[in-house]
Structures are given as structure tokens and as C-alpha cells.
Amino acid sequence: MSDLMSLLSLGSAALSAANNGVAVATNNAANANTVGYSRQTVSFESNLLGGVTTGATGRDASNLLQTRIRASTGSLANSSQTQASISDLEDTLTSGTGLDSQLSTLFSKISQASASPTDSSLRDGVVAATRDLVLGINNRAAQIASARKDADARVYDNVPQASQLAQQLADANAIVAKSGDPAAMDHREQIAKQLTSLVGGTARIDPDGNMRFVLDGGSVLVDGLHAAKMQTAPDPTTGYLTAQVVDGGVTRDVSSQLGGSIGADITFRDTTAKKTADQLDQLAYDTATAFNTQHAANAALDGTTGNLMFVAPTAVSGAAAALTIDPTLDSNSNKLALASAGGLPGDNTGGLALFALATTKNAVGGTKTLTDAALAVVGDLGSTGAVAKSDMDRDQLVSDHLDGLRDSLSGVDTQEELTNLARFQNASSAVTKFVSTINDMLTNLIDKL
């Protein structure tokens, strides 16, 4: 009698184990499309005295692989954002007539006017081309400034988000420590990925099971259950935002330590777009200086010298935005100086000297012609954009490869889960039959007593 009862207990435990298996398989199938979900497993252990029990639900995941995936996520977010920002600016700067074209048009008009220096329509053509060039440089300066402001606005939006994610990561550490729930670990992993995507950095699992998050420069963002706060603050020198980590009353500027998309925006704003802005300023300064120097030495139609084509820039910095056509020339094309000093109206040697600026290396410290310098403004940006695209493609390949590896280890295969489900279901049916048989035996026994 007691043996039959223990057999019933054994059957009950086996039924419970099979049900656990069904539950895990069902849960896996249910989460087949859940982003970041790691396949769960159930382990069966035989008891010394017979029967079976299930161990804790397992999670198929690799910390090493997750670490590589997080790093890849940060790199991909960084290169993607860099590529997008550069591509947008490049599209803007190359739309319409290029600066190199506007400059060459100006030279072309000067050449034409030089052939007939008293022709008012040709002189007007030179003034119009000068006006177009000024407008082109002004517009591009505004477009670059706008792109830098857009990047700054994204920093403003994303830094608080990173701060929230850091806090969520610390909270997730607490939940994992308390429950050890595989789903909580997956959730924590997803938060870490999002945080890495924003700020780069490294997350690792400490021996105590907590995830520690450190920025590339060494600043700790999350340590166990504690998260530092991230915030932005305006840089008084540039006027743009810096990213800061505030922890224990200490505030550190971490702008240069950030990777991910925020790091990409900061680099674009402070390095890539700034270089383009600086090149444009230099071009505007060099153009105005070169033309003014020659033009002032020439004689206008009224015989006067010292006339300018552009309002003389006071400094390289900001020269592009401030570039202006000389108001006297703007209103009177007779002030266009195409004769040499002391020359008569029919003299065009001053105009020929102006045209010669097309092939003279007057830009970037005498290393480039003005048109080559104009080409470099967009050309250098394009080269950086091509590298960024190449980086993004490489990061995407790495990311895809790691996703494949993760899926191989942690992904849910619905066919496999259906098979498992059938297996556990069959086991459950068999055990049910077994319990039913024992129950019948017990009933017979009791009836015969």
C-alpha cells in the first residue's frame, strides 16, 4: 500500500516536471519575436530515491558575446549617426550652384569684362557674379551653423535619456540581484545596449552579478545599484552644450569620453562641421583679401584707385557669415577697377590681373588656388563622409555577424519549441497514464479490503 502511494508521489513529481517543460517551451514560443529575449531551458534531474525534479529555469546566453554585442552596438550607433550627419550636410552644401562654380563664374565674367572694359553690361555682370558669390558663401555658412545647432539639439535631447537609462540599469541590477529572473537579465541587457548606443562605453558583469557601466574615458556611470546622473551645460566659449557626469557632488565634463550617437553628434559638431566652417571662413577671408588687394591697386572707370570688391574682413573667424560686397561697387559698376593705376578707361591690364587670381595660390596660406580651396570645403567633407560610410558598413557587418551568433545561442526556434512541447506533452500523457494505472491498482486493492 505505502509503495503504491510513493509511486503516486513519483508520478505527481514527474507530471509537475513535464508541466514545467511545457511552460518553458510555451514561454519560449511566446517570446520568439521579443527583442533581446534569451531562450530559456529547463533541466531535469533524477532523484536518488527515484523520480524526477526540474532545476531552476536556465538562460542560454554568453556574457562574452553580450559584451561584444554591446561594443558593436555603440560603434554602429556612432558610425551611423556620423554618416547621417555628414551626409545631410553634404547634401545641403552641394545643392544648387557650388562655391567653386560661383568663383569660376566670377573669374569668367572678369575675363569677359576685361575684353571690353567700358561695356557697362559686362561690368554689371562682374558685380552680379560677386554678389552671387557672397550670397553663396553666406548661405553655406548659415547651413553649416544650422547643422551644428541640430547636432547640439540632439545632444540636449539624448543626454537626459542616457541619464534615465543609467538609472534604469541600476534599478535592473537591483531586480536581477533580488530575483535572478532570466527575463530581468534580458531586460537589463537591453537597457545596457540602449545606453551603449547613446554613449558608447563598456558594460561588464561584476563578480557580484551587478552590471557596471563605464564610459570610455573611465568615468563610472553605473556601479551596482548606484547610477551617476548625466546632464548638459553650456560651454561659455563655444556656446554649445557639454555633457557632464554628476556623481557624489562632483561634476565632470565627459564630452570627449562619449561614443555612441551622442559622441558622434559632439564630434560632428566640434570637429567635422567645425573644420568645414573653418575652411569656409578661410576661403571667404582669402577671397576677399586677394580680390581686394588687386582691385584696390587697379583703377576704376573714373580713374580712382583704392576701391574694394568686398568689405574687408576683420578676422578669419566668422568671415564667411560676415562677407559682404563693397556697397559702393554694389551700387555702381563703374567702380569696378579693370585698368591699372593711372590707366585710362580702355586699359584692361587691371582686369587681366584680377583674372590671373584664378591660377594664383592665394588661399590657405598660399598653398591652394581660390577655386581649389572652394572645392576642398565640400570635397574634404565628402572624403570624411566616405570614410564614415565605410565605417558604418563595417560596423553593420560586425553587428549582423554578432546578431547571428547570438541568435544561434540564445534565439528561439519555434520548430524546436514545438518539438519540445510535443515531447513534454507526450511525457505528461505517459505519466498521467501511469498515475491512472496506480490509481486503479489502489482502487482494486481498497475494494478487496
Binding site: 520568439a32 519575436n33 555628414i86 551626409s87 553634404e90 547634401d91 552641394t94 557650388g98 567653386d100 562654380s101 569660376s104 563664374t105 573669374f107 569668367s108 565674367k109 572678369i110 575675363s111 569677359q112 576685361s114 575684353a115 571690353s116 572694359p117 567700358t118 561695356d119 585698368a339 590707366g343 585710362l344 578707361p345 580702355g346 586699359d347 584692361n348 587681366l352 583674372f355 590671373a356 584664378a358 577655386t371 581649389d372 572645392l375 565640400v378 570635397g379 567633407l381 565628402g382 572624403s383 563622409g385 566616405a386 564614415a388 560610410k389 549582423d400 546578431d403 547571428g404 541568435d407 544561434s408 545561442l409 534565439g411 528561439v412 526556434d413 519555434t414 520548430q415 524546436e416 514545438l418
Partner: protein, 292 residues
């Protein structure tokens, strides 16, 4: 390696996406005709093409300048041709008037004709271009160079160059100083002197002027020759510009434009790959359908 059904779907979907993207890229290139539409597509090719466009713009500018210079020289040649005709006619009249058989009255009639020729010569020598510049005035191009009464030249000997390319210039004007004593004789005052002598019935002065008239004829011929040489140089530069424009267009095309045959072949390949990947995706989805 364990491959989940999820992964198979991802792989086939990604392949379809990549192939769609390839088809879109080639279609875009075919519709725009451009392989490189912005610097990052191919920085070196883009910069090379833009440099060629700059050359083209400068070439256009100098072509216009050459055209202006060429037209000016053609007009100048016409003026010189007119002057040559006038001086030849004047010489014939001078020979006729120098004959001792001529009376004071007949010389006066010849003198009237010579005065008319002088006026015509002054008018021709003071011809302006369509912009109102005096062709033969040198750099004093807004001031009438030959005095209407005396024929004395008040312009200068300056010539005007035009750009034939970015580094060279060629002379595109002829100064009236070539028709003065610095180059032979003062042609127009000579005509005036002749007319005056003829009207004054002064055959001695008329005879003395015959030699100067011969010099004037040669002088004008020589100036025409110089003008013609300048025209020839500009014509040659014009031809070089036309050739350069073609060369520039070829260079631009080589750098940034598509090869239609190659692009069409790429489109066919990309389309084929897309069709295959779509079929594979469809097959995979059917295979993995749990409802089967």
C-alpha cells in the same frame, strides 16, 4: 551552428532588402546619368570632375573674351581696308592733280574730292565698336582719336590683350598710332595737306606728297598685316578652346557619369538577384509556417 527559423527569415529578408537597395541604386544612376552625384560617392572622382567644371567655366569666359577681341579685330580690319582704299584713291587724284595740264579750277575740283576723302578717312578712323569705344584710340578708347579738322591723332599706342587661356593673353586691338609718323607718315594729316594744296593750286606740294602717299599705302598694308596676324592667333585660340571644351566634357563624363551599358548590365544582375531572393523568402515563409 544552430540556426533558428527566426534567423532564416532574417537572413532572407536582409538579402531581399540588400538586393532592393542595389536595384534602387542602379536605377537612380540610370535615371540621373550620374555615377557620382555627391563627393562622398567617390571623393577623388568628384573633385576631378569639379576641377574640370571650373576649367570649363574659365574656358567659357576666355572664349567670350576671344570672341569680343576677334570681332573687334575684324571691325578694325574693315576700317583699315576702307582707309587703304581712300589713300589709294587719294593717290590717284594726287597724280592726276599734279599734272601740269591741270588748271586751277580742275585742281579745285580734285581738291574738293580729296576733302571728301579726308572726311571719309577721319570718319572711318574714328569708328566705334558696338559698345561705343573708338577702335583705334589705344587706351583712350572713350575719346575720339583723330581730329575731324586736321586728322591729327590724339590717342595713345596702347594695345589691349584678351585672355586666350588662364595664363596667356593675346593682343586684340590695333592702335591708331600705327597710322602716324612714328610708323611712317601721318596718314590722315597727309590727306588734309594734299586737299589743301590741291585747293590752293599748289602742284609742287602735291608732287612732294606722292612719295608720302606711297609710304601711307604700305604703312596701312603693314598694319592690316599685323591685325590679320592677331586675328589668326585668336582664331587659333578659338579652335583650341573648342577642342578643350570637348576634352573637358569627356573628362567630366569619365569621372562622374555612368557607362550606360555597364549600368544596364548591373541593373539586370541586381534585378535577377532580387527576384531570386524574393522567391527564397517566399519559400522560407511557407516552409516555416506553423499552420501547415
Amino acid at each position: 551552428m544552430r540556426v533558428t527559423d527566426h534567423r532564416i527569415v532574417d537572413i532572407s529578408a536582409a538579402a531581399t532588402q540588400r538586393n532592393q537597395s542595389a536595384v534602387a541604386d542602379v536605377t537612380q544612376q540610370l535615371s540621373s546619368g550620374l555615377r557620382v552625384s555627391k563627393p562622398s560617392d567617390d571623393p577623388a572622382a568628384w573633385i576631378a570632375a569639379q576641377r574640370e567644371k571650373v576649367r570649363a567655366a574659365l574656358n567659357d569666359g576666355t572664349s567670350e573674351a576671344i570672341q569680343v577681341g576677334s570681332e573687334r579685330l575684324t571691325q578694325t580690319d574693315g576700317v583699315l581696308s576702307t582707309l587703304a582704299g581712300i589713300v589709294s584713291q587719294a593717290r590717284e587724284l594726287a597724280v592726276e592733280g599734279s599734272n601740269d595740264t591741270q588748271s586751277a579750277t580742275s585742281r579745285s575740283d580734285i581738291g574738293a574730292q580729296l576733302s571728301s576723302l579726308f572726311d571719309a578717312a577721319v570718319a572711318a578712323a574714328n569708328t566705334t565698336d558696338p559698345n561705343g569705344e573708338y577702335l583705334l584710340a589705344g587706351s583712350k578708347s572713350l575719346t575720339q582719336p583723330f581730329d575731324s579738322t586736321t586728322g591729327v591723332y590724339s590717342g595713345d599706342s596702347a594695345t589691349r590683350g584678351v585672355n586666350t587661356d588662364t595664363t596667356s593673353t593675346q593682343i586684340a586691338t590695333t592702335a591708331g598710332s600705327n597710322l602716324t609718323a612714328t610708323n611712317g607718315v601721318d596718314v590722315l594729316p597727309l590727306l588734309k595737306t594734299l586737299a589743301t594744296a590741291m585747293n590752293a593750286n599748289d602742284p609742287v606740294t602735291v608732287r612732294a606728297a606722292l612719295g608720302d602717299l606711297d609710304t601711307a599705302v604700305k604703312q596701312i598694308s603693314q598694319v592690316r598685316g599685323q591685325t590679320g596676324a592677331h586675328m589668326a592667333v585668336l582664331d587659333s585660340a578659338k579652335a583650341a578652346h573648342t577642342a578643350l571644351a570637348t576634352q573637358i566634357q569627356t573628362a567630366i563624363s569619365d569621372n562622374v557619369e555612368i557607362d550606360a551599358v555597364s549600368a544596364a548590365s548591373q541593373l539586370a544582375k541586381a534585378s535577377q538577384a532580387l527576384t531570386v531572393s524574393q522567391a527564397v523568402t517566399s519559400h522560407v515563409l511557407q516552409l516555416l509556417n506553423p499552420a501547415k
